[in-house]
């Protein structure tokens, strides 16, 4: 398959659209009321301008391209100390805005190509992907451990390799292998069963979406995983009647919805298939009246917007022929694909739940700190940053935080434990399952 994955050099012109004005450094909303806050986890933790938001990363990119900066341990470390959360990109209004996460990842791809990257701990991910098709070094047979309660209850989940179903539940590696997060696929499958949906899983045949590799700059590894998945999805469509792929993982969702589109064959391979996040599916069913939230849950909760179901799904309008402004000018952002309202609508629909918002939400959500390879590369920092987000949640008076991303789930719970907070991060599916 042919891919259009940019090299750093390809993005040079975009890199020079940055003015170094620094607007990207602060989450800001005029309001009224006016709100502001930190937006860059790396900036908060490390402080120097190079670490700070797009402004700093663009400086590194310029230096690398001009040859003024050469790979050494410290530079390498600096370009991986970023969650690629796109919070900075959300503040920017210049022509390179849509490309900011791409520029950061292109630097990492160059590091990998040049034999410098990724970070040593992240190399384990790449090796694990080669050995086990997942980043957790988990044997394939462990991938289905989370389904045991269903087997025990004599409600086994359909193996879509063998039986047809219109819907594939693409579980994702974090839900399958990361023990504290297994409640997410369990709750998801439980809801689907309660609703009588005809779905199946790939089980031990499921392989990683490749997102983690893409985030750390291993484009070749990512392409191998993605191509394998695209071929599998096409096979499932043609041979098992799959026309919906649903996932509860924000990372997988982002990868399939966005990263896979860099493959020229993507549309052909996914023809007849809709990719949807579980929250969106449940919201559709709720609106249809199929999903009835009958129980009650007298909890006070707040909601954390994952980067990968939020601003990473922004769609950008460009002046392609120069007829509006000038050729390739960035014109505007559409948030129509971002899952901001859907989880909130579902949460508010749960009887007796009390919902409260944090200051930094939606497009200005403060990253949990786990993404962009940081959880693997810099675990302590990832947890420390998650603690900051938990504290923000606690300041609202909420007892618990809800999200729709297994990565955020794990990291924020780690962050809560780090500061001894009783606040717990739940996946939206866990709450829905309780009241269904």
């Amino acid at each position: 398959m042919k891919w259009n994955i940019s090299k750093l050099k390809d993005l040079e012109h975009k890199i020079w659209r940055c003015t170094a004005c620094g607007t990207c450094k602060v989450a800001y909303d005029y309001g009224p009321p006016t709100k502001s806050g930190e937006i860059c986890p790396a900036g908060v933790e490390f402080g120097f301008e190079g670490f700070m938001s797009a402004k700093g990363k663009i400086a590194f990119a310029r230096g690398i391209l001009s040859g003024e900066l050469e790979w050494d341990d410290e530079l390498l470390d600096a370009i991986y100390k970023c969650n690629v959360c796109a919070g900075c990109a959300n503040q920017c209004e210049l022509d390179h805005k849509p490309y900011i996460p791409e520029i950061i990842e292109a630097m990492r791809r160059k590091a990998v190509e040049d034999g410098a990257g990724p970070m040593p701990t992240q190399k384990v991910i790449a090796q694990s992907m080669r050995d086990y098709d997942n980043p957790y070094q988990g044997p394939r047979r462990v991938r289905t451990d989370w389904t045991r309660p269903f087997k025990k209850a004599k409600q086994p989940i359909k193996d879509i390799n063998k039986e047809s179903a219109p819907m594939l539940f693409y579980v994702g590696c974090t839900g399958a292998y990361n023990l504290p997060v297994r409640d997410v696929p369990v709750a998801t499958a439980s809801i689907f069963q309660k609703l009588g949906l005809d779905f199946g899983i790939l089980g031990e045949e499921e392989i990683c979406c490749g997102s983690t590799l893409m985030r750390i700059g291993d484009a070749e590894g990512f392409k191998r995983a993605a191509e394998s998945n695209l071929e599998k999805f096409k096979w499932l469509h043609e041979n098992r009647g799959v026309n919906n792929i649903v996932t509860s993982c924000a990372g997988c969702y982002r990868a399939i919805k966005k990263d896979y589109t860099m493959c020229e064959d993507n549309d052909r391979m996914l023809e007849g298939i809709t990719v949807i996040h579980t929250a969106e599916l449940l919201n559709n069913l709720y609106k249809e009246g199929t999903l009835k939230l009958t129980g009650n849950l007298p909890w006070k909760v707040t909601y954390h917007d994952p980067c990968h179901t939020g601003r990473h799904l922004n769609k950008f309008k460009f002046d392609e022929d120069g007829s509006v402004a000038w050729k390739d000018a960035y014109l505007e952002t559409s948030e129509e694909d971002c899952l901001y309202d859907i989880p909130r609508e579902l949460l508010k629909a749960i009887p007796d739940i009390e919902f409260t918002e944090m200051d930094r939400i939606r497009a200005n959500s403060y990253c949990c700190g786990g993404g962009g390879g940081v959880m693997t590369g810099y675990g302590d920092w990832a947890t420390k940053n998650a603690s900051l987000r938990i504290e923000e949640g606690m300041n609202t008076g909420a007892e618990h935080m809800v999200s729709i991303c297994p990565f955020c789930h794990y990291n924020l719970n780690q962050g809560a434990q780090r500061i001894g907070s009783e606040m717990k991060l739940y996946d939206l599916t866990e709450l829905i399952d309780r009241v269904l």
């Binding site: 170094a20 004005c21 602060v26 800001y28 120097f48 301008e49 230096g63 209004e93 210049l94 402004a325």
Partner: protein, 476 residues
């Protein structure tokens, strides 16, 4: 710098601010080596992040002893290369000193550290329905740095420059001593006024970080009246616009009284130059007024209507007009990301923006603008000029925001030449540049009275005997 020396200096700096907050790593230094201006990149030798006043004192004491240059840095958002180190040395990043130490909504005073951003202060003030004269800069820019550099903002017509809002300050001298100016010097809790004592705060305002590091700043803040009314007019030439602004400013009814040329009214500024359509007016003005009651607003409107009629009776081309919505928002909903990212300034140019930014007598605006137009169009650049009245006084800001393609050394140099040429024309007309890059400082000093230069040097020598503070920026 000798390697051995470098190691020793870094070790000393790390012992003051902690190892994580001091570095000589090239990639970190590189990110401080340039800004959006035409000023050529230069690297500091070290970067340190201070978090306390005591740390700053120790850094400056050490730097003074070792004669190492120190460049204070907050947001790095100025467009004059003011924090690009001319002679290397220590880049002192103050962004982590970002506390709003005091906010008194009754006395209308805030005391802030240098790293407090406009976004942060706006957010804090909005809880009390208070405001400050927000500049058209990035929300991440520093309130303190803008104020001590005589920055401008959205309340200039009413209260004057940001520096005129300063009520007190605490400063670390280049030699490491901690000093205070204003009421806080007499009572540590009193931050209300720099008067009636000798105005020693003047030793640190407009010196481009050349005389010390301001560590605490008292500023006035103001109530936000609920009723906003913006009067917008347009006309065919700068002379008519000057006449209207002069007339309206006499009544002192505006928070901001600004005229912008057609090129600056575009979002973004056209780059390279493109001619204005013949049917469009050449000048627009927005006069921002806030009122507490409808009657007050009506009174302002009555005055404005009277001025408009008077100007029309004179035979000028002034007429009430519609001002582009996004541009109007960008100039009234401040701090603003639209102007913050300089979207309306340099988006089309790409990467670069600089200016001849000046305080110029109002009666020279028209001739200087006409000269600038000739110079700028001659360099294929837009004459994107702004004129703003200060505090009802008949002088104010005259500046041209000049975007350029920073990827191209040739286009950058073209912009630099045009801007310096514009600056010379303004100096000849009696104007003075603010936040000036070194190229401007050189031009100022060429024209300066010998007594001014002597005094400047004497004060600099007195406060900074080893010339360590942001050396080279004053062109002396």
């Amino acid at each position: 710098m000798h390697v051995r020396n470098e190691e020793l200096i870094l070790k000393e700096l790390a012992s003051i601010v902690g190892e994580k907050n001091a570095t000589a790593a090239k990639h970190i230094r590189y990110a401080y080596s340039y800004d959006m201006s035409f000023v050529k990149p230069k690297l500091p030798d070290f970067v340190v992040m201070a978090t306390t006043v005591e740390q700053i004192q120790k850094i400056l004491t050490f730097a003074n002893k070792e004669k190492i240059p120190v460049v204070p840095y907050t947001g790095g958002t100025n467009i004059g290369g003011l924090t690009i180190p001319e002679r290397g040395g220590i880049l002192l990043d103050l962004k982590r000193m970002d506390k709003i130490i005091k906010l008194d909504p009754e006395a209308l005073v805030a005391v802030i550290e240098p790293g407090v951003t406009h976004a942060q202060l706006a957010s804090a003030l909005s809880k009390y329905n208070l405001r400050f004269g927000w500049p058209v800069g990035p929300p991440s820019s520093s309130v303190s740095s803008c104020a001590i550099s005589h920055g401008i903002g959205g309340l200039n017509a009413r209260y004057g420059l940001q520096s005129q809002e300063i009520t007190s300050m605490e400063v670390v001298l280049p030699t490491g001593e901690l000093v205070r100016a204003g009421s806080c010097a007499i009572n540590p809790d009193a931050w209300h006024s720099v008067l009636p004592m000798p105005q020693m705060d003047g030793l640190f305002k407009g010196w481009l970080g050349g005389t010390g590091v301001v560590t605490k700043l008292g500023i006035n803040v103001h109530h936000t009246p609920p009723i906003l009314k913006i009067f917008t007019v347009s006309c065919d030439n700068v002379e008519d616009m000057y006449s209207y602004m002069l007339n309206l400013s006499n009544y002192e009814i505006c928070d901001d009284l600004t005229g912008v040329s057609w090129w600056l009214a575009q979002v973004p500024i056209p780059y390279p130059y493109k001619p204005k359509p013949d049917s469009d007016p050449e000048w627009f003005s927005y006069a921002t007024t806030y009122s507490f009651t409808e009657k007050e607003r009506e009174a302002r409107e009555e005055i404005w209507g009277m001025v408009l009629k008077e100007e029309q009776k004179k035979g000028t081309s002034i007429k009430e007009t519609h001002y582009p919505e996004e541009a109007l928002k960008a100039r009234t909903q401040l701090p603003s990301q639209i102007v913050g990212t300089t979207k309306n300034y340099c988006k089309q140019g790409g990467g670069g923006i600089s200016w001849p930014g000046t305080f110029t007598p109002a009666n020279k605006w028209a001739p200087v603008y006409n000269k600038w137009k000739e110079i700028l169009t001659g360099h294929n650049l837009s004459p994107s000029v702004r004129m703003s009245m200060y505090r009802g006084v008949h002088y104010g800001m005259l500046r041209a925001m000049i975007p350029f393609n920073k990827q191209s050394a040739e286009e950058t140099e073209n912009a630099r030449r045009a801007i310096v040429e514009c600056l010379k024309a303004d100096l000849d007309g009696g104007g003075m540049p603010y936040k000036p890059p070194v190229d401007f400082a050189t031009e100022i000093n060429k024209r300066a009275h010998p007594g001014y230069l002597m005094l400047l040097k004497k004060i600099k020598k007195l406060l900074d005997p080893n010339d360590i503070m942001n050396p080279g920026k004053l062109g002396i």
